[in-house]
């Protein structure tokens, strides 16, 4: 591997953790890079009425 000067990439092949959109992970996998994919999506906007209702039901 080319020495980039970045200690995180020096010597060892990178291992990537990708959060969210899995297209990024897939693109890296196609380049034989190990990727751990974390399924995540942004939480929906908060609805205070609904959260208050939820508090009373749980």
């Amino acid at each position: 591997m080319t020495d980039t000067g970045n200690p995180l990439l020096a010597g060892q092949p990178p291992c990537v953790v990708n959060v969210g959109i899995d297209l990024f992970a897939e693109t890296l996998r196609q380049q034989s890079i190990t990727v751990v994919q974390v399924l995540w999506k942004p939480p929906p906007p908060q609805d205070d009425d609904l959260l208050n209702l939820l508090d009373s039901l749980i």
Binding site: Q37, L50, L53, L54, S56, L57
Partner: protein
């Protein structure tokens, strides 16, 4: 008892009814003979209620074809007039105790698998699959082929299967599902194992009761190629189980989940027969041929999500790693999906174990409170329908959040002290 305590007790009751149910396959009969309220002029469809003119194309087309098939009209134009004038009752399968895959078109003559749960005295009915009919993108050709297959189901498969099933003790459906999970099915998109188990269970009875060798040959040929056949029985059993949890006061557990290609609809045990709907999502998946793409596909459609309603399909994805090929996924992703479903359900159904996850029970009893709290909606494994008719692929999708938030608000109004 506080309100949350009452809800918890009601939800545990719902899960225990799922566990106590003993659905058995007892018969195959025409819809007109078995569905309460069915008439010659009724056509049932998959998903929540929808006006005919608002349906997606394959469902709209299917209703017209059913009217012609039943001999109620001579031409498509006449059939459409009758539908628009209200001479034909168009209603959801779910409201007649039945479920229908994909467009779910069920008319008076449609042969239905009949499943009975004697524990809760509930019946569930499911149409038989017409078999693969994709690749016929000429509308008239597709309709002719579909109606030819309907006729064959009515005149050959239904009577032959019915006679065989009535000649033997009822076939328990839950053990078939449990065995299929051990053999690599998740019992929604993959039913290869379950169908083999069923074929084994009925082969001798078919041989004994069908003396016409040509009809026996046709029936066995259908069962050989239709690897999804056991889904009809699982769906009918799922409907009987889901109906057994209807109307438990205070329960926030989902008692029905279905789609009509336009909207996704749910019912909630403690809220009776009220539907809560939101626009159906598109499906992430693989097309069976490179000639098809997203532009050809109808959004999520069919009553088969009754399987997720009782904890199978997307909820048991890790049991069927082979399916991950449809979504470019991995076993880790399947495990993660099951774990997500654990966060939104009441508990595990121990009769249905996932062998690849140290034999945990499938996560069952979708709790609308947890769905809203976690921001996670049920994952649905499903087939993909072409906008001109036919099945063209398979994959997975998620229930839209909107129906759960609407249901939770309605639950608050119904049960919160004012």
């Amino acid at each position: 008892m506080t309100l949350p305590d009452k809800i918890a007790a009601a939800n545990n009751e719902a899960l225990s009814r799922f566990a106590a149910a003993r659905p058995v396959w007892v018969d195959v009969r025409p819809a007109i003979d078995v569905l309460p309220g069915m008439t010659r002029a009724t056509v049932l469809h998959a998903g929540p209620p929808i006006a005919w003119q608002d349906m997606c194309n394959p469902q709209k087309m299917g209703v017209v074809q059913a009217v012609l098939h039943e001999g109620l009209a001579e031409t498509e134009a006449e059939a459409e007039q009758m539908i628009l004038q209200g001479q034909i009752v168009v209603a959801p399968c779910h409201e007649y105790g039945a479920v229908g895959g994909m467009a779910g078109i069920t008319s008076a003559s449609s042969p239905l698998a009949v499943v009975h749960d004697p524990v809760h005295n509930r019946y569930g009915y499911s149409q038989l699959f017409q078999g693969p009919a994709s690749g016929l993108l000429n509308r008239d050709e597709y309709n002719n082929e579909a109606r030819k297959r309907w006729r064959w189901l009515e005149t050959v498969l239904g009577p032959v299967l019915g006679a065989a099933i009535r000649s033997i003790p009822p076939i328990p459906v839950k053990p078939m599902i449990a065995r299929a999970l051990e053999m690599g099915d998740e019992c929604h998109n993959r039913n290869s194992a379950g169908s083999a188990v069923i074929l084994n269970a009925i082969a001798l009875a078919l041989y004994d009761t069908c003396t016409d060798r040509a009809l026996l040959q046709e029936t066995l040929a259908y069962l050989k190629v239709n690897e999804q056949f056991s889904l009809c029985l699982s769906m009918a059993a799922g409907k009987a189980m889901a109906d057994s949890i209807k109307n438990i006061p205070y329960s926030t557990v989902v008692s029905a989940m279905c789609r009509n290609g336009v909207e996704f609809g749910i019912k909630v045990s403690g809220l009776g027969e009220q539907w809560f709907t939101a626009p159906a999502n598109r499906i992430e998946g693989l097309y069976f041929s490179s000639e098809w793409g997203d532009a050809d596909a109808v959004p999520d459609i069919g009553d088969s999500s009754i399987m997720e309603t009782i904890g199978l399909g997307g909820h048991a994805q890790a049991a069927a790693p082979a399916l991950q090929q449809f979504v470019n996924g991995s076993f880790a992703r399947a495990v993660s999906t099951v774990q997500s479903m654990q966060l939104i359900t009441v508990g595990q159904l121990m009769e249905f174990k996932i062998p690849t996850m140290d034999f945990i029970g499938v996560p069952a009893g979708i709790d609308i409170r947890k769905v809203v709290q976690q921001g996670i909606t049920p994952v649905i494994d499903t087939a993909i329908a072409h906008c001109k008719g036919g099945v063209i692929g398979a994959g997975q999708t998620q229930a839209p959040e909107g129906c759960f938030t609407a249901a939770l608000r309605a639950f608050g109004k119904a049960y919160q002290p004012s």
